[in-house]
């Protein structure tokens, strides 16, 4: 088990190096720091001196891989690749274009993101599983058909529609909850209702349908027939036997996204004015602040790999047949 974990952690290193190279190629080779400086300075102020000054201010005035101005080890370390890209490995994200420390911003902004993402995940899971169970209980009836049709219709609606419609109806027309905003602590609960609701509904169609398919697949297994032959009621078969077994793929499927929850949702956070990492990313994209985008890409990859490892671990916890070696 320990050996397995160690190997997985070692395997993460080449992947992160790959991610690092891709982002480095995108942001420094295809697109040179000169281009970046030009965009930020605006068309009117582009002079060679201004570009040089901007690059010096933001630490981009270094060669890519090899610095022949420096001496010793600094020939390799005093370069863009080491200073801007490899430093991400020790979670040193550097400074954004406005001079703020990205690492500190991430540490403070992940909490609002979690405040939205975690309830959305938990409530969503409960709702989708219940809805799917309901459909499976009434399988091959008109209720089931209507439910599946509803799922397909819900799947076909753009996520933006849910956001805009809910803000308009619940927030503006009926005045139940604030349209947007955020406040830490229990008083801020009213701000969370709408984004969580929208987050749950926008995935209702797809997830319920997928879970229904998982449940139906279990229904054809031998142990279900045995349980019925014992004379168990349909409800007992469904809740005591099928639910437990179908939860294995559902839960392990959920585990992979858990670490990434702190990154938040771009759409929800920007529409509802949540000061989390999602809106941080979207602001960075719109301001073309590449330092933040690079940091978020790297963080996202780390969290994804963490999610994969956690998934493997969760298999051993919920399914005693699985052994890692």
């Amino acid at each position: 088990m320990t050996a397995y974990l160690l190997r997985r952690l070692l395997y993460a290193i080449p992947i992160l190096i790959g991610v690092n190279l891709i982002t480095f190629a995108l942001f420094f080779v295809v697109n040179t720091p000169d281009d970046m400086a030009r965009i930020h300075l605006g068309a009117k102020h582009v002079t060679p001196e201004a570009i040089a000054r901007w690059k010096a201010e933001h630490g981009y005035n270094k060669p890519l891989f090899y610095n022949d101005q420096a001496s010793g080890v600094a020939r390799f370390t005093d370069t863009l690749f080491v200073q801007k890209s490899l430093r991400l490995f020790v979670f040193d994200f550097g400074r954004a274009d406005d001079g703020r420390d990205i690492g500190r911003e991430i540490a403070s902004r992940m909490w609002p993101s979690l405040a939205i993402a975690l309830p959305t995940l938990l409530v969503g899971l409960a709702v989708y599983v219940s809805f799917a169970l309901l459909l499976v209980f009434f399988r091959a009836t008109y209720l089931d058909t209507a439910g599946v049709v509803l799922c397909v219709v819900l799947m076909s609606i753009s996520g933006l529609f849910y956001v805009i419609a809910s803000q308009y109806l619940l927030g503006k027309l009926w005045n139940w909850v604030p349209i947007s905003g955020y406040q830490p602590g229990w008083d801020g609960l009213k701000f969370l209702v709408l984004p969580v609701l929208v987050g749950v509904i926008s995935a209702l169609g797809e997830s319920s349908r997928f879970y229904r398919a998982l449940f139906l697949e279990e229904m054809h297994k031998d142990y279900v027939r045995t349980a019925r032959a014992k004379g168990l009621s349909e409800a007992a078969v469904l809740f005591r036997h099928v639910l437990g077994n179908a939860l294995i793929p559902i839960l392990t499927g959920v585990v992979v996204v858990i670490p990434r929850l702190i990154l938040g949702s771009l759409i929800l956070e920007s529409f509802f004015g949540i000061p989390g990492l999602g809106s941080y990313t979207i602001d960075a994209l719109q301001a073309q602040d590449f330092a933040i985008v690079r940091a978020m890409v790297f963080l996202g990859s780390v969290l994804y790999i963490l999610g994969l490892i956690l998934t493997d671990l969760s298999y051993t916890l919920v399914d005693p047949r699985v052994r890692l070696e």
Partner: protein, 471 residues
């Protein structure tokens, strides 16, 4: 001889035509092989699948008409070399003429006769008042705007009547085809088309077509005289914008395939078939790409492209070429990030196929790897490819709207549902609400995605007998 127009082939047009040629070749190949035709017969029998196919075909037709671009010739004196307009139009623009040119000053509601915002007007007796002015085109033919709903109803019914003639023609044609095929009298064929159980798929298609034609007839009769879906902030007809957006949505959904297909096929099948270090390298490649948050990778790449276009304006001569290139680039990026799922699926399937007897036998006979892959592996994973591509389509159409909202989608001047939503969402704060632009964008997108989802379901049910049917 000089043409009255100069054809213009944008990058996306060329790629789309290429894709159409590939689809046509695929259809011909399928038609010639009975075992390939069989699953499609299940789609043919499915009511929802056929109805969805008709809707998709209607969208496809508009998208195709909108992809044939040209520049009109300007009137010139005799003897001079012909001059062409700078504006690139499409055949669709040409066909819907008044929809494009009848531009109002600002917002107006659907079927409105007056502008949505007040302007300073000078009345006949010289007084200056602030009031809602009459529209330049919408309902301009009416002497008295009070009676417009009667006029709307009359014109709508007239158009639908013309449409019903067309629909009757379609039914007649279908019956004629059936009569010739079955060697029956026409009346018997028509009765069979209306009632027979085995024809429920085509019947659903014809019913959908009838509805579409009636609606199109009514709208076509009304559109030259009213703004059926209102106008937007700069007075453009919303119906026109929504129809123009169809091409963008379809291109995003289909051109991406051109990137996904070769990557996923070669890498996925190679990883599964050869195993060993090839498998390791390919797995490493897709784990790396998958580990980057998708939206961020797309956003980063699009930002890079944007900077490239902004710093090298001399490479792109017209605004149309610039926004078109950005669209093609977006498809490329979506494809580069989107091939992982299919490749993983193909790898798993090929791993299974590799161990089957007929592949082992072929290898024992000394058949080359290339030949085994083409003759024995590819045909047996084709259904997976088809199902995945059809299923991915709707996701891509929806993704366009989100990406455009984030600011890394298609060019802001290109008509697209994402841009329409983005431009209109702040107007919900107005009182009274400007709802028609949002409603139109969501409605057109919803119909396309719903049709694509339903069609994908019936394709999946036909090709993958294990998957549960929708109903």
């Amino acid at each position: 001889m000089t043409l009255p127009f100069q054809p213009v082939i944008l990058w996306s047009d060329a790629l789309l035509l290429m894709l159409l040629a590939a689809v046509a070749a695929f259809v011909l190949h399928t038609l010639r092989h009975e075992h390939l035709r069989a699953p499609w017969r299940a789609v043919w029998d499915s009511r929802l699948g056929m109805a969805a196919a008709v809707v998709l075909a209607a969208y496809g037709l508009i998208g195709l008409l909108d992809s044939l671009h040209f520049r009109a010739r300007l009137p010139a004196a005799a003897g001079e070399p012909p001059q062409y307009a700078a504006e690139v139009l499409s055949l669709f623009d040409h066909l819907v003429g008044p929809l494009r040119t009848q531009v109002e000053e600002s917002y107006s509601a659907p079927f409105a006769t007056h502008l949505f915002v007040k302007k300073t007007l000078v009345t006949a007796d010289g007084r200056v008042v602030r009031d809602y002015p009459r529209l330049k085109y919408g309902g301009a033919h009416l002497p008295d705007p009070q009676g417009r709903w009667a006029d709307v109803a009359a014109r709508g019914i007239e158009g639908a009547g013309l449409g019903s003639l067309l629909a009757a023609g379609a039914w007649g044609l279908a019956a004629l085809g059936l009569a010739v095929h079955r060697r029956q009298p026409l009346a018997t064929a028509l009765a069979a088309l209306a009632r027979e159980r085995t024809l429920k798929g085509p019947r659903a298609a014809l019913l959908t077509l009838t509805l579409l034609v009636l609606l199109t007839g009514a709208v076509a009769a009304l559109a030259p005289h009213y703004h059926v879906l209102g106008t937007d902030k700069v007075g453009q007809d919303v119906l026109y914008l929504a129809l123009k957006s169809i091409r963008t949505g379809l291109l995003i959904g289909t051109l991406t395939t051109l990137v996904v297909l070769p990557l996923a096929l070669t890498l996925g099948v190679a990883a599964g078939y050869f195993g060993g270090w090839v498998d390791d390298v390919i797995q490493y490649l897709y784990t790396t790409i998958n580990s980057i948050p998708g939206v961020l990778l797309i956003a980063a790449a699009v930002l890079v492209a944007q900077v490239h276009i902004e710093t090298n304006p001399q490479l792109y001569d017209t605004a149309a070429a610039r926004s078109d290139l950005r669209l093609v680039f977006l498809c490329l990026i979506l494809g580069l990030t989107g091939w992982v799922g299919l490749a993983r699926l193909l790898r798993g399937e090929t791993l299974k196929l590799r161990e089957l007897e007929y592949v082992q036998a072929a290898r024992a006979f000394g058949v080359t790897h290339a030949r085994i892959l083409v003759r024995h592996v590819l045909p047996n994973v084709a259904h997976l490819v088809l199902i995945t591509l059809v299923l991915d389509f709707s996701g891509l159409v929806l993704a366009e709207a989100v990406l455009s909202y984030v600011g890394v989608g298609v060019d802001p001047v290109m008509p697209s549902w994402g841009n329409m939503i983005n431009g209109a969402r702040l107007e919900l704060a107005r009182e009274p609400v400007v709802w028609w632009q949002l409603a139109a964008a969501f409605l057109f997108m919803f119909v396309l995605v719903l049709a694509a989802n339903l069609f994908a379901d019936s394709v999946r049910a036909a090709f993958d007998p294990r998957s549960g049917r929708i109903a």
